[in-house]
Subunit: 108 residues, 2 copies
DNA sequence: ATCGTCTATCGCCGATTGACGATGATCTAG
DNA sequence: CTAGATCATCGTCAATCGGCGATAGACGAT
């Protein structure tokens, strides 16, 4: 009868919010379509946005661990986190009460 | 090599944006946990928000068809749209290129 | 050490969002 | 017809967001 715990709702909302912008949807799809990781410069070239804008979106996506980053020399290579993407809760999961991967340091 | 179509990205983003707010996450979960439809007044009592605020959130959720509305007399009863919830794209679906239910007037 | 490259961060701006109260529309009851 | 109930809409406000240019930090090459 009570509401869903607010902290949990906040966490779920943050995951959905990471994909609530069309530019980030395009960015995630781009990273997923490519098999190899991409540098920020490559993403900037592919998307036609300012470098600071791309960097900001990448920060949001890494914050929820949808993408992972690996520094190689001077550059930073971003790639899809397949584990996080797969266990991302759909609306059905959320609604069915599936707690989803709350573990932040686990596989997700 | 090209980006995902912008219109498609916009549509996906709008679906995610509907759940990008913790209050709406709580609202969806509440409607799903209850089997019966709920009137606005019942939802207001359950959530402790102003009636206009609840009405606004319901408008957003009905706009993407996560919830359905049925007027009964003076009241309006809201319920989960199980079809839409089930075919809501997870991040994995989005990324795998599953077009998801683009049909607006179909089952979703 | 210095330069050029690559990326993150900062500050700014217009636009959008979430919350509220007040008002208006619609229906029921008497 | 009037009064009350139920809900949507409007206007407002503070906060957040998405974009940009400019700046700063880290690294490799010279």
């Amino acid at each position: 009868m009570d509401l869903l715990d607010r902290a949990t709702a906040d966490e779920y909302a943050s995951w959905f919010r990471a994909l609530a912008d069309p530019t980030r949807v395009q960015l995630v799809e781009l990273l997923a379509r490519r098999q190899e990781p991409m540098s920020v410069g490559q993403i900037v070239a592919a998307m036609g946005l300012a470098q600071s804008t791309v960097s900001q979106h990448l920060k949001i996506l890494t914050g929820v661990r949808f993408v992972l980053v690996e520094p190689v020399g001077n550059a930073r290579y971003y790639r899809i986190n397949d584990a996080c993407i797969e266990c991302f809760p759909s609306a059905a999961d959320l609604v069915m009460g599936k707690p989803a991967p709350t573990a932040p340091t686990g596989a997700c």
